[in-house]
Amino acid sequence: MLFVFAAGFIGSFGAAFLKAAAGRLRGNFASVLTNWHLGAGIILYGLSSVFFVRGMAAGELSVLYPMVALGYMWTILWSRLFFGEPLTWGKLGGLALIFGGLAMLGLRA
């Protein structure tokens, strides 16, 4: 469970770095290679998938899936803080639905 919590948290930072990297990408190949945000994003994102698989192998889906949704909440938070994206009721409502949906998917049949 801690693994998946960590995976969601790290993954949300990974996504934030990928977003920062995407804004800095230009057409040429050099801009891809020298883009440290991209490297950081890929490493964090990859790391989060390793944690995720480990957590999945060990834990209960009923706890793990909502943890994944928590990762999306972090991402919306970073989007507001780092990129100034508006935090709207639509986003919060959508997130709440996704959270509930994942929780239901994780329930034992």
Partner: protein, 130 residues
């Protein structure tokens, strides 16, 4: 750095991340079928070797890499907060694939969960307006 995106660009971003979720689901199914080649408690090293030598694992993780590339392209013109949670659709596809490919039981709770996630993603997309 923040250039306002056109409606077409935003739609294309959403379309790309939608593709990501399909690719992710395929990757997860491949990895699940390939995971049997791993022992009960594989070390990081043996996991790495297994990924390189087991076709299902190799293609599964290749698909993940492809999906990450698409995600970065999608993020160029889309809001992170609107795009990233769409990835939750992956779990919808995985649940459907699990029922059809692996014959896992589909319950009312799962169907309800799928409906809620789809509604949530739709709400998010709407809320991201400008």
């Amino acid at each position: 750095m923040l250039v306002p995106a056109t409606t077409a660009q935003r739609r294309f971003s959403i379309f790309l991340v939608f593709c990501c979720t399909l690719i992710n689901a395929g990757a997860q199914v491949l990895i699940k079928t390939g995971a049997g080649h791993l022992g009960a408690h594989p070390s990081l090293f043996s996991t790495g070797i297994a990924i390189l030598t087991t076709p299902q694992l190799f293609f599964g993780y290749s698909l993940y890499a492809l999906s990450m590339v698409l995600l970065v392209v999608a993020l160029r013109h889309g809001e992170l907060s609107a795009i990233y949670p769409v990835i939750a659709l992956t779990f919808v596809w995985v649940t459907i694939l699990s029922a059809t490919v692996f014959g896992e039981a589909m319950s009312a709770a799962k169907l309800g969960g799928i409906a809620m996630i789809v509604a949530g993603v739709a709400t998010l997309g709407r809320g991201s307006g400008k």
